[in-house]
Amino acid sequence: MQLWERTAADVASLIASKEVSAAEVTESCISRTNEVEGDVLSYLTLTPEAARAKAAEVDSAVAAGDPLGPLAGVPMALKDIICTQGTRTTAASKILDNYIPPYSATVAERLYAAGGTMLGKTNLDEFAMGSSTENSAYQITKNPWDLERVPGGSSGGSASAVAAGQAPFSIGTDTGGSIRQPAALCGVVGLKPTYGLVPRYGLIAFASSLDQAGPITRDVRDAAIVLQVIAGQDPRDSTSLPSPVPDYVGALAKGIDGLRIGVVKEISGEGVDPAVQARFREAVQLLEKLGAKIGEVSLSTFGFGIDIYYLIAPAEASSNLARFDGVRYGLRVDGPDVATMNSLTRAAGFGPEVKRRIMLGTYSLSSGYYDAYYLKAQKARTLIARDFARAYEEFDLLVSPTAPTTAFKLGEKTQDPLTMYLSDICTVPSSLAGAAAISVPAGLSSDDGLPVGIQFMARPMDETTMLSAAYAFEQELGPLPKPPLWSTS
């Protein structure tokens, strides 16, 4: 097995035990990246020199016997919406084409401090608005399983990088499913933490009451290891939660026996592709075999999740993106007065989906429509949280497919925004409730041979139960096939 094929946990332990050097691991991932990047186009910016410099630092620390961080020498890829000091950060938008952040996000700082070596910044839908990564202003990322299909989105580059063997792990952000859905479509693990567990400081904001950063990895153990590094309060994000961070890695072995697991009817049947449903039902049988008590639960408001989400998220986006005004950073298109300069700059700098969401959000916040749309959606959001709370009286975890279909063809859904929005039906409810969720590979569809993900949804701040169930499921299911691209070297 080559070094680039290893998990983050393996790489860290090989380096710590001096079996391999951080430099060797970094070179392996850099050459693997060069080998397949032309096919998958995961990255917007590659930073091999910075990765080599960091690997050399780790190797010196190993030689000197200094204490090592949990990710010492582990290569990683960060979604290009996470600010990295001195490294261009675009949010895949032309409006930030030349933006060099003067500071790093909390998430990036914590990963560097843990010893992570950053290989580059990954592609996404512009400002994380999309479900296929086709809304990037720069390039179309391909699914490593089938280069004619999308990797999902918005963290499509982060998911494809991990699935194609370019990096053992990456960081994505999830507002309505943007970590979980691409992880499912690329056959890797994606974890959206409880809202407030991972500080948002330094994430370019899309919808502030929903955005969360989290790991995309090749297995559940790595997800626990990375979450352990990035979780915990930071006073620079006043919405980050003060609760202590539990031992996620230690909790993995707790198992699944005796857990009460509810299958959510509204997002597991109608509207979900039959082959995905079939794979999901087999996954549920496996959970039962492991000792879980399975029941079905009907949560009627989940059927409204997409509509609630697409009123709330664009409203917050329209407010957050007001900062792109051609004054402090990014593009400027000159005009005779400030208002004209603002309007010309934004028209030239934003792509179609971003404009559409700004328009939708501005409309639903505008005088006369606020009560009917935005306020109404916020009340409906309360109903979703109540439905979750009711379900958790009966169940410890809820499950559903992660996405209603496997990876779809490039261009298949770009003409009709509503069809694209429906890709998120399974993931938006836990986003609206602020709860934790993880997507774990459940095997391949018997229809098209593409990966299917199962989503575990937990109570807010109950990542430990979620991870232990996901881990037990993954161990029982056993190793899954790798994408065809895996064996090209």
């Binding site: 500071y103 409204f304 697409y310 950073y329 004209t340 934004r346 179609p352 559409r356 109404k376």
Partner: protein, 98 residues
């Protein structure tokens, strides 16, 4: 509920987006379709339900009133499309007195 051309133009102005005729026409149709789908929400019974603006019950987050270092003017201006004399430059707002 449909959204008319005049409203689309008004919203574009509020959002400071100089949209083309083609974009205005496209968004008129698309926003109407999205809002029509969203009408399922407007029909939900939310009588007496409090709105959720935020999923976690954090209130009045306070910090000690102490000065902490910040990035400084030079770094803050480094990404500006136009800057000078330690300030951001923008098009003239006030007419010169004549």
């Amino acid at each position: 509920m449909g959204i008319g051309r005049e409203q689309v133009e008004h919203v574009a102005k509020l959002a400071r987006l100089a949209l083309t005729e083609e974009e205005l026409t496209l968004f008129e149709g698309q926003l109407s379709a999205i809002l029509e789908h969203a009408n399922t929400v407007t029909n939900l019974d939310t009588e007496g339900v409090e709105p959720t603006s935020h999923s976690m019950p954090l209130m009045n987050v306070m910090r000690p009133d102490v000065i902490i270092p910040s990035i400084g003017a030079e770094a803050a201006l480094a990404n500006a499309p136009a800057a000078g004399d330690g300030h951001f430059r923008v098009p003239r707002i006030l007419e010169e007195e004549g």
